[in-house]
């Protein structure tokens, strides 16, 4: 194997062009599926985290004599801190959603993918071996898309949450004082303003996913990296196919991030109409 780049070696890649093409399709498809799964799950997670399901407070309201201590102290004053107060505000589903987000963000996506591929799909849902579009192995592609989706949902959920939090609290106060309900406030006042921060961040996440999807190759998804390996084992060259792969990734991501930056600038200009 030669690790030096030789221009003539690039011609050795030509017969494998179709593999690179297929790899490109796999990568883009994977990123698209990931964003779709991730976005839907992120919204579900965000809604769960924002919901005010507080079973202890509900107990306190239903049986004030027995459980009132979750809401009031002995003098009949509303609690504003302390253990009983925290327990009263505890939202078990919100806690689970937060725990999920933190675990997904604090472990490597490679580990997550192997766990899901070997530990979940191989054991619990065996996917029949068939090819999608004639060249994509479903039994490897699907677990991979699911993992990347589960992973990016955590990041997207944080993007949504911080986007909503970035909207000035005075907006909600004004909306509520006009009589808008919590959901109406979210829909007409907070979300439209938050989207300015959320949309570019989501588009950015798409670029990140395209690059991160390269880990798919480790469970045998024939993406762009799969094509690199095919050239490598046939011709004992590595740098040249890697350069081609890097070029393809760059051509995907660089224009995308430029477009995002442009849209972001346009949106910010909208502020100072």
């Amino acid at each position: 194997m030669s690790n030096f780049i030789k221009p003539e070696n690039f011609s050795l890649i030509l017969p494998y062009i179709e593999l690179f093409q297929q790899g490109l399709i796999v990568t883009v498809l994977l990123a698209a599926c990931t964003v779709l799964i991730g976005f839907v799950l992120a919204i579900v997670l965000a809604v769960i985290r924002m919901s005010n399901f507080q079973p202890f407070l509900m107990l306190a309201r239903a049986f004030p004599g027995l459980f009132g201590f979750f809401e009031y102290d002995k003098q009949g004053n509303k609690l504003d801190s302390g253990f009983a107060y925290q327990l009263g505000r505890f939202n078990p589903f919100g806690f689970l959603a937060t725990a999920y987000v933190e675990v997904m963000r604090s472990t490597p996506v490679l580990v997550q993918m192997w766990v899901i591929y070997y530990g979940v799909f191989k054991v619990f849902f065996t996917i029949p071996r068939f090819k999608m579009l004639g060249f994509i192995s479903a039994d490897r592609f699907i677990p991979c898309a699911v993992t990347l989706g589960l992973n990016s949902a955590a990041y997207l959920c944080e993007i949504i949450r911080s986007g909503l939090q970035s909207v000035d609290g005075g907006q909600t106060e004004a909306a509520r004082s006009l009589g808008l309900k919590q959901m109406q406030n979210l829909r007409y006042i907070v979300l439209p303003q938050a989207l300015k921060n959320i949309l570019p961040a989501i588009a950015n996440e798409f670029v990140v996913i395209i690059k991160e999807s390269a880990v798919a190759y480790t469970i045998g998804v024939m993406d762009i990296m799969g094509a690199v390996n095919a050239v490598k084992s046939a011709n004992s060259i590595i740098m040249e196919p890697l350069i081609v792969a890097a070029g393809i990734y760059f051509c995907l991501c660089f224009p995308a991030s430029k477009v995002i930056a442009y849209v972001e600038r346009r949106m910010r200009r909208g502020d100072v109409r």
Binding site: N77, L79, D80, S81, A174, A175, R176, L180, D271
Partner: protein
């Protein structure tokens, strides 16, 4: 005018932070009648904003009660005429309490007209055309009809605050709450906002106004409340408060601001 509060009765209202270490409101009781123009004065940090924001539950009181049109809105449920337990719908009550903020809080992503019609259409289910007609008439009254299609960013501070006032009026509230409506304005714009408020008062709107504009308190208010340390220390007519202040803290305060 009725001598008892026929609109809002506030009883022993308390708002504590950190388990009572901070007493933003420490037992305030006051009645508000229809047509009252109640001006709340007091040093910074005395609990004026907390009091005002408690009235429409933007702040959740620690203890005490606020009875608005016969319903204690600090409770989750109340007994209606037939003795049935009914849920207190705070959104319902907030519609009837307009609020004007120091920093305007107009919705920046909507035109002035949309700012004004959103709540009437979405909350009251008013016809969009009717809501717009009404909004334009109100804008006309504050001299801003030609800015209906503008965005808040295009307006001056004084114009924004006038829009904020008529936005609240679009909901036809029973009472208007003002939290230092002129404190964020350049001096030359204070007058135009106070003029709108004066006219409102003349028309008989019930108003609770937190302000440092002593001239307004004297001229327009029929009752003045002096707060300090979360307590209502003195209450009276403008003449009582400004000409014959009794409480030493009020005398001290007036000495500083007048």
């Amino acid at each position: 005018m009725a001598t008892y509060g026929d609109l809002i009765q506030v009883r022993d209202l308390k708002k504590y932070y950190n388990r009572g270490a901070i007493k933003a409101l420490d037992g305030v009781s006051v009645d508000i009648s229809k047509g009252d123009v109640m001006v709340v004065i007091g040093p910074s940090g005395s609990g004026k904003s907390t009091f005002l924001r408690s009235l429409n539950l933007l702040e959740e009181p620690t203890a005490g009660s606020i009875v608005f049109e016969g319903v204690d809105i600090t409770k989750k449920r109340y007994k209606d005429g037939d003795g049935k337990l009914v849920k207190v719908d705070i959104d319902q009550h907030r519609q009837k309490m307009g609020m004007v903020f120091q920093h305007f809080n107009l919705f920046p992503h909507m035109t002035i007209l949309d700012n004004m019609t959103l709540a009437p259409v979405k909350v009251k289910g008013m016809d969009k055309k009717d809501a717009e007609e009404k909004a334009l008439a109100l804008l006309d009254r504050v001299g801003l009809k030609d800015r209906a299609g503008a965005y808040p960013i295009q307006l001056s501070g004084g114009q924004k605050q006038r829009v904020a006032i008529v936005r609240a009026l679009c909901m036809e509230p029973e009472v208007m709450l003002f939290d230092e409506p002129t404190s964020a304005l350049d001096p030359e714009m204070v007058g135009e906002v106070l003029d709108v408020m004066k006219e409102l008062a003349r028309e008989g709107m019930t108003m609770v106004v937190v302000t440092h504009e002593m001239g307004f308190a004297r001229e327009v208010g029929n009752r003045v409340l002096f707060m300090d340390g979360g307590k209502l220390l003195e209450e009276g007519s403008p003449t009582d408060i400004f000409e014959h202040p009794k409480h030493p803290r009020l005398q001290d305060f007036l000495g500083k601001v007048l």
